[in-house]
Subunit: 278 residues, 2 copies
């Protein structure tokens, strides 16, 4: 399979944004709220901070203690909603267990105009109606790759495996609204890689998709993420599929970087909106 470099796509997107922001004199401001000190959360937010800096923006980190109560967290969000200098607000997930249970209410407190993750229930819900102000960056990243590989999706058999609110449901909704059929499976199952022209696998198992599973020349977007023996992998056994036809967005170096570039796009758009430029 031809391996698609998510890193290169991300770089292209970010360069375009940096130039446009520079030309328009836009310096987007993203506030990232992190509750507690989970190491993986801290790693991800540093990547986001770096990416936002690369497009001429800045990040305001709001680090809150692990044991913060819901009301205090809601107050912190409301302050950022009210602060005109803040263009976008991102609440890093997962939250500590107690708050995670009330995630929907907490996400719902973010003003939809600043919801650059597209995670507020209202933006998620609007997607199937008259349109969301912001759409989940993971779903946008999948679309970016699909549209680059296939300028037209006419007649393509599209299969999505997973059931998440941030990848599968928004991606399926967007494709359906664009008038393309799409088949949804809650989890990857044997045979799917042989049936699809475009296969996006979020939920599966580490490295289960191998050469023998692939027929024709599908585009496979791997949206899984697992740690195995100290390194990261996805649902596709990358080494085994090199001889197959088609395209692979692999893990690592695939969806992750594109997702963060899409966040930069959302943040830049939020900044223009906040300055009345859209």
């Amino acid at each position: 399979m031809e391996v698609i470099s998510g890193t290169r796509i991300a770089q292209e997107i970010r360069e375009g944004l940096r130039e446009a922001n520079l030309n328009d004199g836009i310096k987007p401001v993203l506030a990232i709220i992190v509750v507690g000190d989970r190491q993986d959360n801290l790693v991800y937010v540093r990547l986001k901070e770096k990416a936002v800096a690369s497009i001429g923006g800045e990040t305001r980190m709001v680090l809150l203690p692990e044991d913060i109560g819901k009301q205090d967290l809601l107050t912190a969000i409301e302050e950022l909603n009210q602060d005109n200098k803040v263009d976008g607000i991102l609440l890093q997930l997962p939250l500590p267990d107690e708050l995670e249970k009330e995630k929907e209410e907490i996400l719902g407190a973010i003003k939809i105009e600043k919801d650059v993750d597209g995670f507020t229930p209202a933006n998620r819900g609007r997607l199937a109606g008259d349109g969301a102000l912001f759409v989940s960056c993971a779903a946008l990243a999948c679309l970016e790759v699909i549209d680059r590989v296939y300028p037209s999706l006419e007649g393509k058999k599209i299969i999505l495996a997973g059931d998440s609110f941030d990848v599968v449901v928004p991606l399926a909704t967007i494709l359906l609204k664009r008038q393309y059929p799409v088949s949804l499976y809650p989890c990857y199952q044997d045979g799917l890689a042989g049936k699809a022209d475009i296969l996006m696998v979020e939920k599966g198992a580490p490295r289960i998709i191998r050469e023998a599973d692939i027929q024709g020349e599908p585009l496979i977007i791997d949206a899984g993420f697992y740690w195995e023996s100290g390194s990261s992998c996805g649902n596709v056994h990358c080494e085994s599929v090199t001889g197959s036809g088609g395209y692979l967005l692999p893990v690592p170096g695939g969806l992750g970087p594109v997702l963060i570039a899409k966040l930069c796009e959302n943040v830049s758009r939020a900044a223009r909106r906040n300055r009345g430029q859209v």
Copy 2:
């Protein structure tokens, strides 16, 4: 095909609700907001009012003029949000053209705890996440019929045709969250009725599905609604399919009555919630 009586299912549901409400001393109060005087809207809201009365509840009709501005409509909604005597709020759609463009914002003003139509963007969005407080009655009505015909959906090929925020997207999301695969088509196309065990057709064309299209013994839920020569019909040519195997929820007398019974269920649940009984 065996014709399923939506009228009879609706009656069963309403009788169960009436008894439960009587036993628990619950008299649910539904506020219905109607903007303008579209005849079809007025017909539908009278049916809803009658159904709510049949389960021991009452309806407060809020009739607003066609040319009401958005702010005044939002104020009317906010008054109902604040009124503790009102358990559920339903905004009859479609709105007049000018307001219809701002439908998402207007629906979003309804408190999610009173959103018995499940139409607020936030309840729609929560469905793919940690769960909606209320789900669209049309999607619930489809599920009611599916679950009555098939106690298990294991191994069933499910196809949904349409792209609406109130039927297809929520139904697909619920089925996926229940871990069943589902195939989505933006519109009915030739051959679908021959491929599905369960086929829900919202978007198609009047009476296009005929006996020759049906293979095996599918359950077909007709969620289309058209006026032809002075009478209503759906996507299925009912007279032509009597000799086929399977089950048909027809139009008229199918989804419509079940949908209103599901509204009564949502209104009764809102009333219990409002009284601290859930």
